[in-house]
Amino acid sequence: MNQNQNKLKASVTLLRIFIGWHFLFEGVVKMYNPEWTSFGYLATAQGPFEWFFTMLIGDATIGWVDTLNIIALMVVGVTFTLGIFERLGAIVGIGLLALYFFAHPPFPGLTQMNVEGNYWIINKNLIELVACIVIYQLPTGAYFGLDYLRKNKLKTQEQ
C-alpha cells in the first residue's frame, strides 16, 4: 500500500467518524427526548418542495416521520462510527441530508431561518451530503473499523 493511499484512507476515516459522531449525537438527543418532533421544521419548509414537506405533518404521518428520522440518524451514526456497512449508512445519510437541504434550501429569494452564517445555494447540509458520497466511494471500515475484523475473519477462514 503506498503512502499516499494510506494518508487518504486515514483522512477519510477521520471524516467518516466525525460525520458519524454528528449524526449519532443528533439521533440520541432526539431519541431520549419524547417531546421532540420535526413538526416545526417541516411546517416551516420553503422552496420548490414545500408541498411535500407540509404533506408529512398530518396527524397520521408525523409520528412515523419522527421515528424514521431518528432511526435514519442512528443508522448513519452507528455505521460510520463503528466502520461497518458504511455504504448503507452513506446512502441513508445522503437521503436524509437531501431532505434537510430541500426542506430549507438556501436559494436566493427565500428567508433563511435559524441559520448561523450566510449561504447561497450551497450550505453545510449539502457539503455534508457530498462528504457522504466520498465515504460511499471510499469505504474505510476495513482500514479502521468493525469491517476490519469481518474481513480479517474471512481471510483467516480462507487460509
Binding site: 449525537f25 431519541m31 416551516t44 462510527t81 468493525l146 475484523l149
Partner: protein, 538 residues
C-alpha cells in the same frame, strides 16, 4: 481464528467514540428535560384546551344581518357564507401566493346551523350583493328598509350588528326589547348614557347578548389567565399594549364605492342621531374618522386591547384614565386622533404578590398607538417575578430580581434572558425552555387561533359560542358585563383625550365622577374639533 491486540484496536476503535457520543447525547437530553420538568412542575401551568360548546341543534337560527360593509362581510363569512366576489378574489390570491389559504380555511370551516333570512343596509349595492350571493330558491332573503322593520318582523331570531358605532346601541336595545338575540361589534355603545340603557335592556331581555371581542376565543389568552392565576408573574405593576399601523386601510381610509350616491345610499338613515350634514361619501365609507359615527383609536382599537387584558386579568373599569395625543400622521379632515397614549390606573388591583404583604398593590395599563408606524410592539405584562409577552404565542421570562424564583436563579436553573415557559398552540408541545423548534413558528397574528394545530378563525368560534348559548343556554364569554366594562373604559379614554384631563370612575355608584359644567356625552359627540365647544358646557 486469532485476533491480535492490533486487530482489536483497529476493529473496535470506533466503539469508544460510539459509547462517548451516546452517553453525551443521552445526558444532554435527559438533563435538559429534568431541568425543564423541574421548572414546569414549579410553574404548574395548564395549557388551555379548545373551548367545548354544546352543538347548535334543532331548527336553524334565523339570522338578520344589519350592516354589510367590511366587518359585516367578515362576520357573515364566520357564519359560513361568503360572497361570490370574495371567493373569486381569494381564488386569484391563492393562485398568486400558494401561502394564501383563506379560501381553503373558509371551506374547511365547520358548518353552523344557521339560516340567513334578512339584510338591512342603507347602501343598495351592499344589500343587493348580500341577496344575490345568499338567496336561494328555497330561502328567499328579504331586504328590510330599517332595522326596526327587521327586528319587529318576527322572522328573525337573531341579529348581527356591524354598523357604525353610533348605531350599535339603538339597534341592540331595539332587538333586546323584542327578545331578538344580538351579536354587536365593539365598542358596544357610542355614548356613556347609552351604555347604561343597553345594560338595562340586556339584563331585562330573554335574548342572548354578545359583543364582538373574538379575541376571547384565542387559546393563548385562556392559558395566560392560568399563568397569571398561578402567580407566575408575581405582582404585575405595568401592562404595555400597542397599536401600530402605517397604511391607508389601517388609518380607516377605506375604498369609496363607485356607485355611491344620494340615490343608492339612504343618507338620512345613516346619519341617525349624528349631526345633520350634507351627503358625504367620505363620511359614509370612512366613518371611523369622525366622532359623530365612530370612537377613534380609543373605541376602535384600544377597546380590543383593553378587553384582551380584561379577559386575562378581569381587572374591570379603571379608577382613572388620562390620555394624550393628536392628529399627527393623517391630517386629512378627520377629527379623531391618530396617535394616542392612554394610561389607565388600577390602584387597588393586584395579580398576587410574592413579597411582604401590602408592599405591592396597584397597576397601570398603558396603551400606546400610532397610525404612522407599523413596527410591531408586543403586549407585555411586567411582574415582579416574571415578564410575559402576550400574543397568539406566550413567552414568560423570569425577572433577575424575582423573589419567587430567587433560589432557581441563584442555582442558575433559570436565567433572566431565557424564557421559562413558552406556549404556542400551533406547535404540538409546550416548551419550558426555549427551543429552536418553537422559535421556528412565525406569529400569525390575532385573527387566528389554533386547535390541534389547525388554524381556526376566532370570529367563527366567537359566533359559534353565541349561537350555542342561544340554543342551549349558558354564558357567552363577552356579554353585557364585559361589554359594559369595555365601553365605559373606552369612553373614559376618549373623554380624557378630548378634555385634556383626568376622568375618574366611582366604583361604588358605578358612575363617572362628574366634572362641574361638563356634559360627558356632549363632549364625546362633539364633532368639530377636540376643543370644548360652548354647547358642551352645560
Amino acid at each position: 481464528m486469532k485476533w491480535t491486540r492490533r486487530d482489536l484496536l483497529i476493529g473496535l476503535g470506533g466503539l469508544p467514540v460510539l459509547g462517548a457520543v451516546w452517553w453525551a447525547g443521552a445526558a444532554t437530553s435527559v438533563g435538559s428535560q429534568k431541568k425543564r420538568s423541574e421548572i414546569l412542575e414549579q410553574l404548574n401551568i395548564k395549557p388551555s384546551l379548545p373551548p367545548a360548546v354544546p352543538g347548535i341543534g334543532g331548527d336553524p337560527v334565523r339570522i338578520g344581518v344589519i350592516g354589510f360593509g367590511i366587518r359585516g362581510e367578515q362576520l357573515t363569512r364566520a357564519l359560513g357564507f361568503a360572497t361570490d366576489e370574495w371567493k373569486e378574489e381569494m381564488r386569484l390570491a391563492a393562485e398568486e401566493d400558494p401561502n394564501n389559504k383563506r379560501l381553503e380555511d373558509f371551506e374547511a370551516q365547520e358548518r353552523l346551523n344557521v339560516k340567513l333570512v334578512g339584510i338591512c343596509d342603507v347602501f343598495d349595492v351592499r344589500a343587493e350583493k348580500f341577496i344575490n350571493s345568499f338567496s336561494t330558491d328555497d330561502n328567499q332573503i328579504k331586504r328590510y328598509v330599517t332595522y326596526k322593520d327587521m327586528i319587529q318582523s318576527g322572522d328573525v331570531d337573531a341579529v348581527v350588528i356591524a354598523t357604525p358605532d353610533h348605531w350599535h346601541a339603538p339597534m341592540s336595545i331595539e332587538a333586546l326589547n323584542n327578545n331578538v338575540h344580538v351579536y354587536v361589534e365593539k365598542p358596544m355603545t357610542h355614548t356613556v348614557a347609552e351604555t347604561y340603557t343597553l345594560r338595562n335592556a340586556a339584563e331585562n331581555s330573554e335574548a342572548v347578548f354578545a359583543v364582538g371581542h373574538q379575541h376571547r376565543q384565542t387559546l393563548s389568552f385562556s392559558t395566560a389567565r392560568d399563568i397569571v392565576d398561578k402567580g407566575t408573574l408575581g405582582h404585575v405593576s405595568l401592562i404595555q399594549t400597542n397599536t401600530n399601523r402605517n397604511d391607508d386601510n389601517g388609518a380607516w381610509n377605506y375604498d369609496i364605492h363607485e356607485k355611491a350616491s344620494p340615490e343608492t345610499i339612504d343618507w338620512e338613515q345613516f346619519l341617525g342621531s349624528a349631526p345633520t350634514v350634507p351627503f358625504n361619501k367620505n363620511h359614509f365609507f370612512r366613518w371611523r374618522k369622525w366622532w359623530s359615527y365612530g370612537s377613534g383609536l380609543s373605541g376602535d382599537l384600544l377597546s380590543h386591547d383593553y378587553d384582551r387584558l380584561n379577559c386575562v386579568l378581569n381587572m374591570g373599569i379603571p379608577a382613572s384614565v388620562i390620555s394624550s395625543g393628536g392628529i399627527y400622521t393623517h391630517n386629512d379632515g378627520r377629527n379623531v386622533p391618530d396617535v394616542i397614549q392612554v394610561n389607565m390606573e388600577f390602584p387597588d388591583f393586584s395579580t398576587g404578590s410574592s413579597q411582604a404583604k401590602g408592599k405591592e398593590n396597584g397597576m397601570t395599563f398603558c396603551y400606546s398607538a400610532t397610525l404612522g408606524n407599523g413596527f410591531s410592539r408586543p403586549t407585555i405584562l411586567m411582574g415582579h417575578d416574571a415578564t410575559m409577552e402576550l400574543g397568539n404565542r406566550l413567552t414568560v421570562w423570569p425577572d433577575g430580581a424575582s423573589t419567587r424564583y430567587a433560589d432557581m436563579l441563584e442555582a442558575e436553573k433559570m436565567r433572566p434572558n431565557v424564557p421559562i415557559y413558552q406556549y404556542d398552540p400551533a406547535a404540538k408541545a409546550t416548551d419550558a425552555v426555549s427551543s429552536a423548534t418553537s422559535q421556528y413558528f412565525a406569529d400569525k397574528g390575532l385573527m387566528w387561533t389554533y386547535i390541534d394545530g389547525v388554524r381556526v378563525d376566532s370570529t367563527f368560534l366567537h359566533m359559534r359560542e353565541w349561537l350555542s348559548v342561544i340554543k342551549n343556554g349558558g354564558k357567552v364569554s363577552c356579554g353585557i358585563k364585559e361589554g359594559f366594562e369595555e365601553a365605559i373604559s373606552a369612553h373614559m379614554a376618549g373623554l380624557s383625550w378630548k378634555l385634556g384631563r383626568k376622568i375618574e370612575w366611582d366604583a361604588a355608584s358605578q358612575t363617572l365622577k362628574p366634572i362641574e359644567g361638563i356634559d360627558f356625552d356632549q363632549v364625546l359627540l362633539a364633532n368639530e374639533n377636540w376643543n370644548i365647544q360652548p354647547e358642551m358646557v352645560g
